[in-house]
C-alpha cells in the first residue's frame, strides 16, 4: 500500500518529539491494513496532537479543544464504514473528560490515540491531567498539589472494550495500533511519549524511563474482558430496525356542534398526580370533535409528583391568537395547590362563570356560580377527579357536551383505559 503521509505537509514536530514517531507508525499501520485515504477519517484535537490531521492524505476534521470525540461520534454514526481515528493529547483528554467517559460507555467503534506527554506543549508546558506531582512544569507549584489521572483505569471503569497503555517507543506499536483500529468497539491507546520542546528540558524523561515507569504499573493491554459487549453503532441500527414508524398525530374530524358559541376558556386547577394535563388534552380533543381551534398551556413545578398542576384551555371557532386567560368561562377546582397558585383569579370572575369545585377544596370568594361535587362520596379517586369534572361540564352542557367528551376519549385512549374512562364519565353524578 502507498504511504498516506501528506508530501506537501511535512511533519513539523520538535526534534526528538514522540509525536513524529507516532505519526510515521500510524501511517505504517494504515498501510499494513491496506487502507486507502478515503476509508479513514482523522479527527484531531487541539495542541501538537491537533496537527495530525494535516499530515495525512485522509478525510480530516479538526475542531475545538477536547471535543474531537464528539465530532468522531457524529461521523461514525453517519458513516459506519469509515475508520475513525482520533488523536488527542493529555490536555484534550483532561478538558474532554466527559466525552471520554461517554465514548467508553457507548462503545462506538472509534480509535482514540492519547498522545500522552505529560504537559501542554504548545501553550508553554503547563501541567495537564497526567503530569506527575514531582515534575517541573510551567504551572509553578500547582501540579504538586493535585493528583494525576490514569486514563486507562478511568477508561476501564467507564466500560471501554479495548485499553492499552504503552510507550511510543514500543517495538510493535504499529501492530498494536492496527489491533486497536481493527477492534470493533471503542479503543483507547494511552501512548506515553517525550515532549522535547518543553517537558524533557526540565524533567528526566527518556524512552528508558518511560519503560521503567510503565513496568511498575499494572499492565493494560488490549481487550478488556469484563467490558466485552456489542458495538454501539451496530447495536443502535439493530434496535432502530425493530422500532415501528411513528404515524402523524391523529386527525380529528368535526362531528358535533359545540353547546356554546364563541371562544370558551377553561382552567383546570389541581395538584400534581391528579392527571390534570391529561384532562386538558381530552378537553382539547373534545373541542376538535366540534371543529374548534384549541390551545392548551400547562403549568407545573419542577417537582414531579408534588406541587400544583394547572392546565389552561381555549376552545374557539376563530383562530386563537393571544392565549393568556384571565376571564375563564369555567374553572375546575379539584386540588388546593392549583387553586392557591391562581388565587387572584377568582375575585374577577364573571357571574355566569362556573366553578366545578371538589368538596374539601377551598376557593376565594367571587361572583361565579359554584357547582360543588362530593367526589369522595361517589367513590371517585383523586387521580380520576379531573376527568370526572369534564364529565360534569359535559352533563351541564358547559363548553362541551357528552357526545364531544365521549368522542374525545375514543380519540385519546386505547383499551382497556378507554372502557374504564367511559365508565367513569358515565357514572359521575352531577347532583
Amino acid at each position: 500500500m502507498s504511504n498516506l503521509l501528506n508530501k506537501s505537509r511535512p511533519l513539523v514536530f520538535c526534534p526528538g518529539c514522540s509525536h513524529e514517531r507516532i505519526a510515521r507508525i500510524l501511517d505504517k499501520s494504515f498501510q499494513n491494513m491496506g487502507l486507502n485515504g478515503n476509508q479513514i477519517a482523522m479527527v484531531s484535537d487541539i495542541g501538537c496532537s491537533g496537527l495530525f490531521d494535516t499530515f495525512f492524505n485522509t478525510h480530516a476534521m479538526h475542531g475545538l479543544h477536547g471535543r474531537a470525540l464528539t465530532y468522531a461520534t457524529g461521523l461514525k454514526l453517519a458513516r459506519p464504514e469509515l475508520n475513525v481515528v482520533v488523536t488527542m493529547g493529555d490536555g484534550g483528554m483532561g478538558i474532554g473528560g466527559a466525552h471520554i467517559l461517554s465514548a467508553c460507555r457507548r462503545n462506538l467503534d472509534l480509535t482514540l490515540l492519547v498522545l500522552n506527554n505529560f504537559n501542554f506543549g504548545m501553550t508553554g508546558g503547563q501541567f495537564s491531567a497526567t503530569t506527575p506531582p514531582d515534575a517541573q512544569v510551567g504551572s509553578g507549584f500547582l501540579n504538586r498539589i493535585e493528583r494525576p489521572l490514569d486514563v486507562c483505569e478511568v477508561a476501564c471503569s467507564a466500560g471501554a472494550t479495548y485499553v492499552t497503555r504503552c510507550s511510543a517507543y514500543r517495538k510493535d506499536l504499529e501492530e498494536e495500533i492496527e489491533r486497536a483500529i481493527r477492534h470493533e468497539g471503542f479503543s483507547v491507546l494511552d501512548i506515553w511519549g517525550v515532549c522535547t520542546g518543553r517537558y524533557s528540558k526540565r524533567n528526566k524523561l527518556t524512552p528508558q524511563v518511560i519503560d521503567e515507569t510503565l513496568a511498575k504499573l499494572p499492565p493494560r493491554e488490549g481487550i478488556v474482558e469484563n467490558n466485552d459487549r456489542d458495538e454501539y453503532g451496530r447495536y443502535y441500527r439493530e434496535v432502530s430496525e425493530s422500532q415501528k414508524p411513528t404515524p402523524p398525530p391523529a386527525k380529528i374530524e368535526k362531528k358535533f356542534d359545540p353547546p356554546e358559541s364563541g371562544r370558551q376558556e377553561v382552567i383546570i386547577l389541581g395538584d400534581a398526580g391528579q392527571r390534570i394535563i391529561t384532562a386538558g388534552d381530552i378537553l382539547c380533543f373534545a373541542g376538535l370533535t366540534a371543529g374548534l381551534n384549541v390551545t392548551q398551556k400547562n403549568e407545573y413545578n419542577i417537582t414531579v409528583l408534588r406541587g400544583p398542576s394547572i392546565s389552561e384551555l381555549i376552545l374557539s371557532p376563530e383562530d386563537i391568537g393571544f392565549n393568556g386567560i384571565d376571564r375563564p368561562a369555567a374553572i375546575v377546582a379539584i386540588g388546593q395547590e392549583g387553586v392557591d397558585r391562581r388565587a387572584n383569579l377568582f375575585e374577577h370572575l364573571d357571574k355566569d362563570a362556573l366553578i366545578i369545585l371538589a368538596k374539601g377544596v377551598e376557593v376565594p370568594p367571587g361572583n361565579a356560580k359554584v357547582h360543588l361535587i362530593d367526589f369522595k362520596k361517589q367513590g371517585i379517586k383523586t387521580h380520576d377527579r379531573a376527568l370526572a369534572s369534564l364529565s360534569v361540564l359535559a352533563k351541564l352542557n358547559k363548553v362541551i357536551n357528552p357526545e364531544m367528551l365521549q368522542s374525545a376519549l375514543e380519540a385519546r385512549f386505547k383499551e382497556p383505559v378507554l372502557t374504564s374512562a367511559l365508565g367513569l364519565v358515565d357514572r359521575v353524578d352531577i347532583a
Binding site: T54, M61, R67, G74, L82, L288, L292
Partner: protein
C-alpha cells in the same frame, strides 16, 4: 378540515424530518426536551439517528460531525445549553457547517425560572459566539410557524452552509395547539450544492457565482478536509492576511446580503395610522389582538411581525416603517431588539415596552403602550 393536537416542539420535530433531517443530538432541558422526545420517536424507524449527548457541547459537536458526513442535522436547547453551544456555533459559522439549532427560550439569567417563557436570548443568539460573524435566526409565532420555519431553516442552512437558529419560547414550544399539518405550505427542499465535475475538489473554494463553498461529505470517495482553524480554499490553516480578511468578509456578506430573500414577516398596515408596532415571537399574538381592538375602536395602528430576526431585515423594516411617526417595539425582555430598530430608524420616535416576569405580555399592555405614544 380535520385538526390534530400537538405542541410547538412536536411541530418543530415534524418540520425537521419533513425537511430531510436525519440526525439529532440533544441534552435534556425544559422547555426543549419534547423536541428530543419526538425526534427519538421519528428518526430511528426511518433509518435516522437520534442520540442523547453527555452534555450540550457533545450534542452539538456530534451534529457537526454528522453534518460533515452529509446528513441534515438539528439540535435543541434552552438558555443554559445555548451558553455551552457557543464554541461549536462559532465552529459552524467559520467552517460553514450546516446545522439547525432550536433555542427554546426560558426566563434567565442563568438557570433562571424553570420554566417560564421569555425572549431573553435574542441578542445572545446573534452575538454569543467568538468572532462576531452574523447568523440567521427565525422566530415562530405559533405552531404553524414552528413547522414551516423549521423547514425554511434547513433550506437556509443548506444554501448558505451556516447555523440557523429557531428562536422559540416556552410559551410556543410547550403550548399545545390545533394544527392541520397538511395544510401548511411547504417550501421546496434545498440541498447543499455539489461541486462542478472535472476539477480537483477544494473544500473551501468559492466559485465565481457562489457565496458559500460547494460540499462533499467526509467519507465519500473524494477526500474532504474540515478545520476550525482559519483556512484557505484547501482547508489547511492559512497565515495569509489577504486571504483571511477576504474570507471573513465573505462569511459576513453571504448572510447579510441575502436577507431580502428570506425576510419572513406578517404585516398589517392601516392607512390612517401614525404608529407602527413591531414585535416577534409569541408576543405577536397579543399584538395582533391589540391591533384588532385598536382598529375596532377607530384608533388604528399598523403592525409588523418579524419572523426573520437576524440578520436584521433592514430594507423590509425601513420600507414598512416609512410613513409612520412613531414606532412601538414590544418584546418579552427588557429591551434587546429595540436597539436594532433604533439603529436603522434614527429619524423615528422609537418607544419600547418590555416585560420579563414570566408572564405573557397582554393585548391590554400593548394598547397602553400605544396610548402612551
Amino acid at each position: 378540515m380535520p385538526l390534530s393536537l400537538m405542541e410547538g416542539n412536536e411541530a418543530i420535530a415534524w418540520g425537521a424530518v419533513n425537511a430531510g433531517c436525519r440526525f439529532y443530538a440533544g441534552y435534556p432541558i425544559t422547555p426543549a426536551t419534547t423536541i428530543f422526545n419526538t425526534m427519538l420517536k421519528l428518526l430511528p424507524p426511518m433509518g435516522g439517528i437520534c442520540i442523547q449527548g453527555e452534555d450540550e457541547i457533545a450534542s452539538i459537536g456530534s451534529c457537526l460531525g454528522a453534518s460533515m458526513a452529509g446528513l441534515k442535522v438539528m439540535t435543541a436547547t434552552s438558555g443554559p445549553g445555548l451558553s455551552l453551544y457557543s464554541e461549536h456555533i462559532s465552529f459552524a459559522i467559520g467552517s460553514e457547517i450546516p446545522i439547525v439549532i432550536v433555542v427554546v427560550q426560558r426566563l434567565g439569567p442563568s438557570t433562571g425560572s424553570a420554566t417560564r417563557g421569555a425572549d431573553g436570548d435574542i441578542q445572545f443568539m446573534r452575538w454569543g459566539s467568538s468572532g462576531g460573524l452574523p447568523v440567521i435566526v427565525l422566530a415562530p409565532v405559533d405552531i404553524n410557524d414552528c413547522f414551516s420555519l423549521t423547514m425554511h431553516a434547513f433550506n437556509l442552512a443548506e444554501e448558505f452552509r451556516c447555523p440557523v437558529f429557531i428562536a422559540s419560547n416556552k410559551e410556543i414550544a410547550m403550548t399545545k395547539e390545533s394544527i392541520d399539518m397538511d395544510a401548511i405550505p411547504r417550501p421546496e427542499l434545498k440541498e447543499r450544492a455539489a461541486p462542478p465535475p472535472g476539477k480537483p475538489f477544494l473544500p473551501f473554494e468559492i466559485g465565481s457565482d457562489r457565496m458559500a463553498p460547494c460540499f462533499l461529505p467526509i467519507g465519500d470517495e473524494v477526500l474532504v478536509r474540515q478545520t476550525s482553524s482559519t483556512h484557505g480554499p484547501d482547508g489547511y490553516i492559512t497565515t495569509d492576511f489577504d486571504q483571511i480578511g477576504k474570507n471573513q468578509e465573505r462569511l459576513r456578506k453571504k448572510i447579510v446580503s441575502a436577507v431580502d430573500s428570506f425576510s419572513f414577516c406578517e404585516a398589517y398596515m392601516e392607512d390612517d395610522a401614525d404608529t407602527l408596532v413591531i414585535t416577534y415571537g409569541v408576543t405577536a399574538r397579543a399584538a395582533k389582538e391589540a391591533f384588532m381592538d385598536q382598529k375596532g375602536e377607530g384608533k388604528p395602528v399598523s403592525l409588523l411581525v418579524l419572523k426573520t430576526i437576524w440578520p436584521v431585515p433592514e430594507d423590509l423594516i425601513k420600507k414598512k416603517a416609512k410613513s409612520f411617526k412613531h414606532v412601538v417595539v414590544v418584546e418579552m425582555n427588557l429591551g434587546q431588539y429595540v436597539r436594532e430598530i433604533q439603529r436603522i430608524l434614527p429619524d423615528k420616535k422609537i418607544h419600547f415596552f418590555g416585560q420579563m416576569n414570566g408572564k405573557l405580555i397582554t393585548p391590554h399592555q400593548i394598547k397602553e403602550a400605544i396610548a402612551n405614544v
